[in-house]
């Protein structure tokens, strides 16, 4: 009850402060339009933001708020990196890329930079990683930080896992395995869903009905449970061949995710096939392939590309989830989902030793960071493609 009273009092204070802010602003500027036409909601928003900022500062000076300080430090560094990246992009490259960088928001610059770093890491994993991904190199469960005083080792700056493998190497190889497989899976899903969706939209009739209903049936089953079920069946077929199981996983996730792509491609395609230029091409006597790939596809790239970014995140999370559950990418291959599962119990030590809790959080953070980065870039592309239509 007491808590509610406090909350109520805080709200009342904020409301009063908002009113005072607006009145003070009006008096001080003698009715400048910015304050004169300000609605109460906007004034309240300003006050709320100021209160949140003050709360942040208060939290920063608390001794226990280690993760909050890390997060703020990371946020500041990320902002600076994104700013520098955008600055560099504005001065290097062709006229077209420089123009794109000039209009780019900071979030998109951060997303691009992150994706670029992940790609470099994945491609050059063999060169970048100090140890092999399944190599046991030191004591078990060494903490990150590289400082012997806190239980680290300078040779393993991010620590080691439960059987003594170097975590930094495993994170780097994880980029190759998890991201690489997710990318391949998304590509297959797009090829399947996209071509069938456009086909359904262009031909219509019974084919459209058949495909759409089949997709409805697949979509009616919760996707993670469906994937688990199919993976269980597949693991019986695969026997001891680990690479076969991975292949099955790629196909299963691709088929399940292609249903979402199909829906989008069909909807986008349907709004394009009614255009007069499609009619003109049909009346010219053009074939199906020309219609789909030369007339429809170029006009559908913007929404499809945006969907590709989102779909990639979902696929990526599905793979991590399956690996976390033990049916995804198989050991000894390094994979972020598996790493989170293996080190998960260290979360319990967060209150006593933030460094120990950081062990599973690094892999989880790698997943989260990529997802956020991809979404930033997708948001920007969607905004650009919709802006071009205006």
């Amino acid at each position: 009850m007491n808590v509610w009273l406090w909350a109520l009092a805080a709200l009342a204070t904020l409301l009063l402060a908002a009113y005072a802010l607006r009145a003070a602003g009006r008096a001080a500027t003698a009715g400048a339009p910015a304050f004169r036409d300000m609605t109460f909601a906007v004034a309240f928003g300003y006050v709320l933001a100021a209160a949140a900022l003050a709360g942040g500062v208060w939290l920063w000076v608390q001794p226990g708020a280690v993760f909050f300080r890390w997060a703020v430090q990371f946020f500041a560094m990320a902002t600076a990196a994104a700013f520098l990246f955008r600055l560099a992009g504005r001065h290097v490259g062709t006229e077209a890329t420089r123009k794109a960088f000039r209009q780019m928001p900071l979030t998109a610059a951060f997303g691009l930079l992150t994706i670029l770093l992940y790609a470099v890491t994945a491609i050059f994993a063999d060169i970048l990683a100090p140890y092999g991904q399944s190599e046991v190199v030191g004591a078990v469960n060494m903490l990150p930080g590289g400082d012997p005083a806190t239980g680290g080792d300078p040779a393993h700056p991010l620590g080691t896992d439960q059987i003594g493998r170097d975590l930094m190497s495993r994170l780097i190889y994880g980029a190759q395995n998890t991201v690489g497989i997710a990318f391949a899976t998304t590509c297959i899903a797009f090829f399947l869903g996209g071509s069938l969706g456009f086909l359904a939209a262009t031909i219509g009739g019974w084919l459209d009905n058949l495909l759409a209903r089949a997709v409805d049936v697949l979509m009616a089953i919760p996707s993670l449970i469906f994937a688990l079920l199919l993976m269980t069946i597949a693991s019986a077929w695969a026997g001891n061949q680990q690479w076969q199981l991975t292949l099955y996983m790629v196909i299963i996730i691709a088929v399940i995710d292609s249903t979402r792509v199909f829906r989008l491609a069909r909807a986008v395609g349907q709004s394009i096939v009614v255009m007069d230029y499609i009619e003109a091409a049909k009346l010219r006597g053009e074939g199906l392939g020309y219609l789909i790939f030369r007339e429809i596809l170029p006009n559908a790239t913007a929404p499809l590309l945006a969907e590709f970014g989102l779909r990639f995140c979902f696929v990526f999370l599905t793979i991590a989830a399956l690996s976390f559950l033990g049916v995804g990418i198989q050991p000894p291959l390094a994979d972020w989902g598996t790493m989170v599962r293996d080190l998960a119990q260290f979360i319990n030590f967060a209150a006593f030793s933030p460094l120990a809790a950081a062990l599973p959080l690094m892999a989880a953070g790698a997943i989260a960071l990529l997802t956020v980065a991809v979404n930033f870039v997708v948001d920007w592309m969607l905004h650009r493609s919709s802006g071009l239509k205006d």
Binding site: G31, R36, D276, E279, R284, P298
Partner: protein
Amino acid sequence: MADHLLKIRDLRLEGRADETWHPIVNGIDLDLGRGEVLGLIGESGAGKSTLGLAAMGFTRDGVRISGGTVEFDGIDLVNAPLAEKRRLLGKRIAYVAQSAAASFNPAHRIIDQHTEAPVQHGLMSERESEEDAMRLYERLRLPNPDEIGFRYPHQVSGGQLQRAMTAMAMSCRPDLIIFDEPTTALDVTTQIEVLAAIRDIVDQFGTAAIYITHDLAVVAQMADRIKVLLRGDEVEEAPTREMLESPQEDYTRSLWAVRSFERPEKPAPAADAVPVISVRGIDAAYGDTRVLHDVSFDIHEGRTVAVVGESGSGKSTTARCITGLLPPVKGTIRLEGEDLPPDYRRRSKDQLRQVQMIYQMADTALNPRKTVGEILGRPIEFYMGLRGRERRRRVEQLLDEIELPASQFIDRLPSELSGGQKQRVGIARALAAEPRFIICDEVTSALDQLVAEGILKLLARLQDERKLSYMFITHDLATVRAIADEVVVMKDGEVVEQGDKRQMFTPPHHPYTDLLLSSVPEMDPDWLTTLLEERGRENLGDAAIDRMNG
């Protein structure tokens, strides 16, 4: 200062594009007295809509007022606080948009949207406002005025919706209404009803109005004074009669001259000549709904047949039957004496090549992701098998023929072209196939008059050079007068009258043709008054119009 309701001085408006501000309106002065109607005319891009909105102290996103004053009844609208503008807009200043269908919220009944403003401004109770709405509907001669407001916007026709919107603007009895092209999207016969209704109600309540349009004949009926705009500058302003009789500026005169384009009459085709296209007794249906009944006409070499009628009369359906997109249920279509397969998928490449089409909306007719060179190159490659440099040379020739310099235009995307240029590219794409026969589906109705005239002249020249035959679908009789050799009048899927142009424009007519012809606005400011009187006398007023509309 009661004699000036609206006073605009040196108003400058700027729009934001490519991160800089570009001028849209450069210092316009405008005065409007109480009860006066001012016509604003100009081509698209002249800034007339932006100016109309600025007269309410409002700008669209990305547009700003960079200078000048707007004074409404002594109130400075540019610097007025938002709260004060809110009290004025809807109550003392109202706005009627071009597309009523897009301006009404489809999720609410018409009358609920009507009563919103009076109730909000505290002028009437909901009940009083509803009754007032019904009286207004009656005055605007909407059918079933007691009942029509309780329908949703999609349940009434376009012309009725436009009148309902005028009623809505009247709901608070404003001092000023801005009409932004309220009849541009309507058929001629519907347009008359809306024009008469607007003029009536503006007269009765002594409301001042700014009437924005690009149609001179319309503005001549509505306005006391006319102001001509060109690219954000005022060209001239004068009382309507004076402006019509003796325009001072060259630009105004060129606007006036558009309707004078007319082609010399061609000799009738020989009696034994085989028509290029012969439509023989076709019936067509969408599902179970018959939309065409026994349509027949011939189109001879080098001649233009105009197919006229209001929307829903089956003009475009006839075109779809000829192209094979909608196979007719009955009847045949012959190309130079040979039967064409009813479905386009069964036609040979050569048959497809002979029949080409130019579309109404050039925006949707050109693939936005392809350059002009690709758009024109494809039919050349597809039909003639030309590739590489030969193909490019042919594209350049085509661009020459449609009077667009090849070096400038060949690599542009459709979004980088103006409306008239897009339509020219559409024409070139049809020409690229080297056809005998082209269907022109309302090709000029989306264009300004000056641009439309250019397109008509181009089509006429190409016809003379290449002995092309045109089927010209239109609802604009001025266009028919300009370009047609023969006319086919359609109504409800049937041909009601056909013959050569001279015959069609001399009485006696079929009553429907008469209605269409008399509905075309003329430049005479007394035209609407005279027409309404005549129709009233002949008892061919609303009742007849309703009967004609079925």
